[in-house]
Amino acid sequence: MRSIKLSTRQEEILTGYLCLTPYFVLFGVFTVYSVINALSMSFHEYNVFISPIFIGLQNYYELFLDPLFHKAMANTFVYSVFTVLLQTCIALLIAVLLNQKIWGKSFFRAAFYMPAVTPSVVISLIFSWMFFRDGVFNYVLSLVGLPSNIDWLNNVQAALPAVIIVGVWSNVGRYMLMFLAALQDIPRSVYEAAELDGAKGWNLLRFITIPLLRPIITLVSVLGIIGAFQVFTEIYIMTSGGPLDATTTVSYMIYTNAFNYFRMGYASSIAWVLACVIFGFSMIQRKILDTEIYY
């Protein structure tokens, strides 16, 4: 009896390792080796055609003096902060709206998710067209009496806000669904108790809903920041980083350095700085937003 049991246990261990082998082979190559390679690459000068030259911290030094990198970092901050703030608030608002007893709820839920299933290339092309001086966007602005003679994507001041609008528009649906799922998990009894205590409308939202949603608000904003810091397709298609680098983001700069100028080492060093910034940002967010909730 004993020997059979032992062999079952051995079989369990063996099966475990066998099942994980395919994934961890890829993990070894595309994660472990790649991370090490990316780190070492950032200390080298490498243009693909001649073998890498070790240059120590030169790439990082250049980076800190590079005015384009400063500009890209500033653009990325502005883009990320505005996109994440706007999309989180709007998504929460829509989720609260849809969490009531309204007619056609599942239709609206699906409808608002539509941008999230549309490839960002398609979204970027649609908006490139709408942002023309005589395009649909300006027309809508003129309908509500706002200035409408802006060539959005070719205007140094307007291009970044235009890209932010696209980011918010395409992300809201996804986060709205996450909020909605969390809202449905809040027990009705919590609201009933609060209503008995005389809380109404806005106060319910402020003192019950938002505090209870805190974990999911953290998650949505952390995911939002991670996504926003890496925005690429919209920039590539709509503005190519222009006009006058007004929309050059860090990830766009990584791409151009690596694949247009073949500066693999420099691109890697930018990527590491970006990774640290993303990491730092999400840590700070967690600190600010995360608290234990009991109910």
Partner: protein, 272 residues
């Protein structure tokens, strides 16, 4: 008071619907307008004359559009199948089996989700270059099938299934591989569907990957092809919009068919 509140709610919902659908509707209508009407002032939602000219043009001037669609379908199918195999195998090991180092490997995998894709861009390109995989789908499929998030999802799902079933099977002398195949796998259909949807979407939407790895026009995916097509017909916006609408047929159709699983996937990703 109550009815006033509901009026405000419906007004807001309607406004959001307009903002969400507006761009799609204008694009759709313009794709059926004559090319000269791509920039009307004021823009009209309903075309004066309906024409299929743009769609015909898309397929005539760019013989590759069908090819690109086929490429995207093949690529997405490969990524979906591969990811299902990888994620269910790894999920099974993490959730149902006990072996030394399991928790360490699980945490290692979870930790890898924190590495931004940008860091891996250069090394992945260099690996593909050394393997001779540039301009081939292997460069998109092989990294695409390993998904830490997918494994995490599968593990969580499998943990929720009671252990009784496989204990009974074990007593009957069933091997672990057979338990996986005959007991566990049939129970994972909902999680598989969600995973498949995620894999399909990420493959179909991917732009940066094809942009970096694919060079030959006939190998392009639909997203990359659309960008290429735009470069060829810079000022022909009604052609470009028709192409954009065409590229969106597949994702929208998949979404409408499998809506349930999209919602489920979002719910699960909120559990993290």
């Amino acid at each position: 008071m109550k009815s006033l509140r509901m009026i405000v709610v419906y007004a807001l919902v309607l406004l959001i619907t307009l903002i969400t659908f507006g761009p799609f509707l204008f694009t759709l209508s313009t794709s059926f307008k004559p090319p000269a009407d791509a920039f009307q002032w004021p823009p009209q939602l309903l075309p004066n004359t309906l024409t299929l000219e743009n769609y015909v043009a898309v397929f005539n001037v760019s013989p590759f559009f069908f090819r690109w669609t086929l490429n995207s379908v093949i690529l997405a199918a490969a990524v979906v199948v591969g990811r299902l195999v990888f994620c269910s195998l790894s999920g099974f090991a993490f959730a149902r089996l006990n072996f030394p180092g399991r928790n360490f490997l699980f945490i290692l995998m979870l930790g890898s989700m924190m590495i931004p894709g940008q860091v891996l861009l250069v090394p992945h390109y260099l690996i593909m270059r050394n393997l001779g995989w540039l301009d081939s789908y292997a460069s998109l499929i092989i990294p695409g099938i390993s998904s830490a998030f997918g494994i995490f999802l599968m593990t969580q799902f499998l943990k929720s299934i009671p252990k009784d079933l496989e204990e009974a099977a074990l007593l009957d002398g069933c091997s672990y591989i057979r338990i996986f195949w005959q007991v566990i796998l049939p129970l994972t259909k909902p999680a598989m569907a969600t995973l498949a949807i995620f894999a399909f979407t990420s493959s179909w939407h991917d732009f940066m990957g094809p942009l970096i790895y694919l060079n030959s026009v006939e190998k392009f995916t639909l997203t990359l092809g659309l960008n290429f097509f735009r470069g060829q017909y810079v000022d022909w916006w009604s052609y470009i919009l028709a192409g954009a609408m065409f590229s969106n047929i597949f994702p929208i159709a998949i979404f409408l068919m499998f809506q349930r699983y999209f919602v489920e996937g979002i719910r699960l990703s909120g559990l993290k």
